[in-house]
């Protein structure tokens, strides 16, 4: 299926969010996730289904004021 990861269209085989994160190189990373604008806590990623056109945000610590 096709979906948006941090604003870029990608093709994935993953069916749940946790699988997508592993597939895209985020294994073990300190990140927070949202699907279609809603926060998905880390423990819920394995059960979070993905569907065509979903918007996934993967955020990490960054400089801030």
């Amino acid at each position: 299926m096709k979906l948006q990861l941090n604003g870029a269209m990608i093709e994935t085989q993953a069916e749940v969010l946790a699988g997508l994160l592993d597939e895209q190189g985020f294994t073990g990373a300190k990140i927070a996730t949202a699907v279609n604008g809603d926060f998905v806590p880390a423990p819920a990623r394995a059960a979070q289904p993905l569907k065509d056109g979903d918007r996934i945000e993967v955020l990490a610590p960054m400089q801030g004021g």
Binding site: F26, L59, A60, M62, G65
Partner: protein
């Protein structure tokens, strides 16, 4: 002693982590600032370079309290969702709540701010709201559950200092027991000293240090100024007056005409 939501801080210097020329200079600036709090943010991570992971390791090594922000959020929904994501990543209840209402001045949308503060407080967050010096908004924020208020000195990144001395002085007088932090707009150490002399509990700044020619030296300059202003505030400053008053005793002066 400075206390935010039951956490005691060594001093009233809160320093941002953005815009430094390099990570090494950022770390050096923090060392010389002796700041007790570092503000941080969340941004999109790439699975290839994983830049956020290195940044996080460096921030942890600073051994300071972490205050994540919701910078760039323009709606209650965005700010609340970002706060939840920050709580998970940074493992802290603290959130510097920004709901921006206007692009040119980056002033807060105070209506959205109060609403977001109420939602987050009810969800267990300890909210540090970036607000204006408006007393009514301040009161609403306190009723929403905030135990700290962070009025702006001037627009973010402007370096203009304390734009509304009357308003800030009134705020200090109106809420004598609430920890108050000047957040944003400071450009020089003298402005930070002035904020502390007014009785504010802390200052939060970023650009003034990060964009200085020598950020580490400027960080230390701010640290000295904040300490000076805080000490002066506790030393009960004299009342200003319009007319001169001789400081050298007049009695005993020789008659030499």
């Amino acid at each position: 002693m400075l206390d935010f939501y039951g956490t005691t801080l060594a001093n009233g210097f809160m320093l941002g982590t953005a815009q430094y020329p390099s990570p090494a200079i950022l770390a050096d600036a923090f060392r010389r600032s002796q700041a007790s709090v570092a503000t941080v943010s969340l941004r999109r991570e790439s699975g290839q370079d994983r830049a956020g992971q290195d940044f996080w390791q460096m921030i942890r090594a600073l051994d300071v309290h972490i205050l994540p922000n919701t910078a760039g959020c323009h709606s209650v929904k965005e700010a609340v969702t970002t706060a939840h994501m920050a709580r998970e990543v940074f493992d802290t209840k603290w959130i510097k709540l920004e709901v921006i209402g206007e692009e040119d001045t980056l002033q807060p949308d105070v209506f959205g701010l109060v609403e977001a503060a109420r939602i987050l407080t009810e969800d267990g967050f300890q909210v540090f709201p970036y607000t204006t010096e408006d007393l009514v908004v301040a009161d609403r924020l306190l009723h929403a559950g905030c135990e700290v208020l962070m009025p702006w000195g001037a627009p973010i990144g402007s370096g203009l200092g304390l734009n509304n001395l009357f308003g800030l002085r009134a705020m200090r007088a109106h809420f004598p027991d609430v920890p108050l932090v000047i957040d944003a707009g400071l450009g020089l150490p003298s402005q930070a000293a002035q904020a502390m002399e007014l009785g504010f509990d802390a200052v939060l700044l970023n650009t003034a240090v990060a964009k200085a020619g020598d950020p580490a030296a400027m960080a230390e300059a701010f640290a000295i100024a904040i300490r000076a202003g805080q000490l002066a505030a506790t030393a009960d400053p004299m009342e200003p007056r319009d007319m001169a008053a001789p400081s050298t005793p007049v009695i005993g002066k020789a008659f030499l005409l």
